[in-house]
């Protein structure tokens, strides 16, 4: 009985017509127009203000809102107010770059050491350390920044506010990137490569140099990119721990000047430089990660998630 019913339904030419008569929102195979449209809307909404801000850094006038023609004056041609010639803006670019390099050089090896230590060491103490690492994602940066400020102004006042305090604060804040990214890699790798190397006659130092460093290179590289771009973006910690114009990075200058109502296209130029630095680092990071992990399956998505975690 049932069999004949299905057979007749399949045979009747009305069957596809019935499917077509179904309203489009009941059609499970329809193109996801709504989700697609919403995604486009979001992209436009989030990118247009940035594009406009970058655009006005090339404005041949003092306005941040009305276009007066293209020029490079706010980057370098203006002899007093361009980023190149205004000593405050000029110093900010250098300070941001200096902090990024210093913090990356210090935080990455430190974080890798933490990762190895936590991964090897069994028991409740490394579990606590691991928790502290994750905690830095949870603690509000402002609370951390203020406590660092109090630390350096009252307890360790030998460390004056300035570049040293900034570096110490940023390293403490960013060390969890390499610690967590490298640890994730260690966990997925297991101990098989280490054991294979030891089995083939490598001592502990040789295992580290010949096997672990090459295997961890993608994770170390990815975390270096995250730390570097994280320091470029940072505002709260550097705002609290900077002391003078000479050690104030771009983010703080942009915020305080714009907020004080003294903004101009030079600030847009400064912001564009900051954006370009971040973008270059992320692109370098993506390409580098792909190069380091070629031959490994699924590294494209892994690279995307690893590098785009921050920016």
């Amino acid at each position: 009985m049932t069999a004949t019913n299905t057979a007749s339904t399949q045979a009747t030419p009305q069957a596809p017509v019935q499917g077509a008569r179904r309203p489009f929102w009941r059609n499970p195979w329809r193109h996801p127009w709504f989700l697609e449209g919403f995604t486009w809307l979001y992209l436009i909404w989030s990118l247009v203000p940035i594009v406009i801000a970058v655009l006005f850094s090339f404005n041949n006038g003092r306005s941040q809102s009305s276009w007066q023609g293209f020029s490079w004056r706010w980057y370098f041609t203006d002899h007093t107010n361009s980023v190149l010639h205004n000593p405050q803006l000029h110093a900010a670019v250098i300070q941001t770059f200096r902090l990024s390099v210093l913090v990356t050089i210090i935080a990455v090896p430190l974080g890798v050491a933490f990762a190895l230590g936590i991964n090897r060491w069994r028991g409740p103490i490394p579990m606590t350390f691991n928790f502290v690492m994750i905690l830095s994602y949870v603690v509000p940066e402002l609370i951390f920044g203020v406590s660092m400020f109090i630390l350096f102004t009252t307890l360790f006042s030998t460390v004056h506010l300035g570049t040293l305090a900034e570096v110490l604060g940023l390293v403490t804040w960013n060390v969890s990137w390499p610690a967590i990214v490298v640890q994730a890699r260690l966990v997925t790798m297991g101990r098989q490569y280490e054991e294979a190397a030891a089995d083939l006659g490598a001592n502990q130092f040789q295992v580290m140099r010949r096997v672990m460093v090459p295997l961890l290179a993608p994770a170390i590289f990815a975390s270096a990119v995250l730390v570097f771009s994280g320091v470029i973006d940072d505002f709260v910690i550097v705002d609290l721990l900077s002391s003078s114009a000479g050690n104030t990075p771009m983010s703080v200058i942009i915020y305080s000047t714009q907020h004080g109502g003294n903004g101009g296209p030079a600030l847009n130029a400064l912001g564009s430089i900051m954006l370009a630095m971040s973008l270059i680092i992320v692109i370098l990071g993506y390409v580098g990660y792909r190069l380091l992990t070629r031959g490994e399956r699924g590294s494209g998505l892994a690279a995307l998630t690893a590098i785009s975690g921050e920016s």
Binding site: Y193, E195, A198, D199, V211
Partner: protein, 376 residues
């Protein structure tokens, strides 16, 4: 070159206090030089831990490991003259096939020219010489397996340890590699210790097998010994299908046939019976030894039975029988003999006297069983 290995009272406990358990429990084992020795058992029986102890990845809780007469129990892995082929191969993904095989040679201080020579020889030995410049990710599982083998063999180890090396390969490849691996072992003459849960692998390749159960050795012997004279029901059951029958020893004769009672039916066995008359025990018979005869065929050791099910296996046919005494017995018969058999057919099951074996009871301690089996 080929060196023996000796384990005495080897024990490895994991965890502390009440939660600790012995993964390897007081194992005594002696493997002679050039032997292909298998550790066989289900997962969690301690065979891999035993291998890791020999390799040096774990430190024994108690006992000693003698490699060629020298105690290596507390020598770190990089100083032991043993090499391992890992189940996952563990080839370094960032190195070429050549550099993977050359990895260990860099620590031996041989010249570059000799390195090239030996890597070439090792790759030729496993017929992978044309793949030297590839990356491991560009190789199939079987090819990676061969490279892993070459990487371990290039160092001329005293003992080669293999941890389920064929586990990740498909059945067809496994069959051909099994033959190759045995031939390779005979050619290089190195002692192989082979860990597997696959009884067929162990039976086809090994000179001797240790069947392990819960951290202990249940039986050590040649493939024939452990298959045909299993020490206990565990070994009988683990090594291929086995029919276990509850019997009572009726009469025991040394050097002649003994009589067993299966319910009301008397069965003769020509094998040694390790139990006193009157004692209950388990008798074992392999399915391929059970014969399915026409209903009404007369003679010793024939039990009336009904066919429960007939299963076509391809190379043979499996017949599930229900004996008149109530037991279920499986028989594996050639396809041409199974032509007239179908469910419900009354038949006679013939259990040949030489195929029927009474197992040592549980009352006797397991190590004694193992020793008895080795001696026989």
């Amino acid at each position: 070159m080929a060196a023996g290995i000796e384990l005495t009272g080897l024990t490895k406990r994991f965890g502390h206090g009440v939660t600790s358990h012995a993964a390897v429990d007081n194992i005594d084992l002696s493997v002679s030089g050039g032997e292909f020795f298998s550790l066989l058992g289900p997962s969690g029986c301690g065979k891999t831990t035993t291998l890791r102890l020999i390799a040096g990845f774990e430190e024994p809780t108690a006992g000693r490991i003698l490699l060629d007469g020298a105690d290596v129990s507390h020598v770190p892995p990089h100083k032991r003259n043993v090499n391992t082929v890992f189940q996952s191969y563990a080839l370094f993904p960032f190195l070429s096939v050549f550099d993977n095989v050359a990895f260990g040679l860099k620590h031996t201080g041989v010249t570059k020219a000799e390195q090239r020579q030996r890597v070439g020889d090792a790759l030729a030995l496993v017929s992978m010489d044309s793949f030297a410049s590839r990356r491991p990710s560009q190789l199939s599982g079987g090819q990676q397996q061969r490279v892993a083998l070459a990487r371990a063999l290039v160092l001329n180890p005293a003992v080669l340890l293999l941890d389920e090396p064929l586990g990740a390969l498909d059945a067809k490849l496994r069959r051909s590699l099994k033959v190759e691996l045995k031939a390779l072992q005979e050619r290089v003459g190195i002692t192989f210790i082979y860990v597997t849960h696959d009884q067929e692998e162990a039976l086809t390749m090994s000179d001797r097998i240790a069947v392990m159960n819960a951290g202990r050795i249940a039986q050590i012997g040649t493939p024939q010994e452990v298959y045909e004279s299993p020490a206990d029901a565990y070994v009988a059951d683990f090594l291929g299908a086995a029919n276990l029958l509850q019997v009572v020893v009726a009469e025991r004769a040394r050097g002649a046939a003994s009589t067993l009672k299966l319910g009301e039916v008397a069965l003769l066995t020509s094998n040694e019976v390790p139990a006193e008359p009157g004692a209950a025990g388990q008798a074992v018979i392999r399915p391929e030894r059970v014969r399915v005869e026409e209903h009404g065929s007369a003679g010793q050791n024939r039990v009336p039975a009904l066919i429960d099910r007939v299963v076509y296996l391809g190379a043979a046919t499996q017949v599930h029988l229900r004996l008149a005494t109530g037991e279920s017995v499986q028989a594996v018969v050639p396809n041409e003999d199974a032509a007239g058999l179908s469910q419900g057919t009354p038949v006679h099951a013939y259990l040949p006297a030489d195929a029927l074996r009474v197992l040592a009871g549980d009352a006797e301690p397991a190590p004694a069983d193992a020793e008895a089996a080795v001696a026989s």
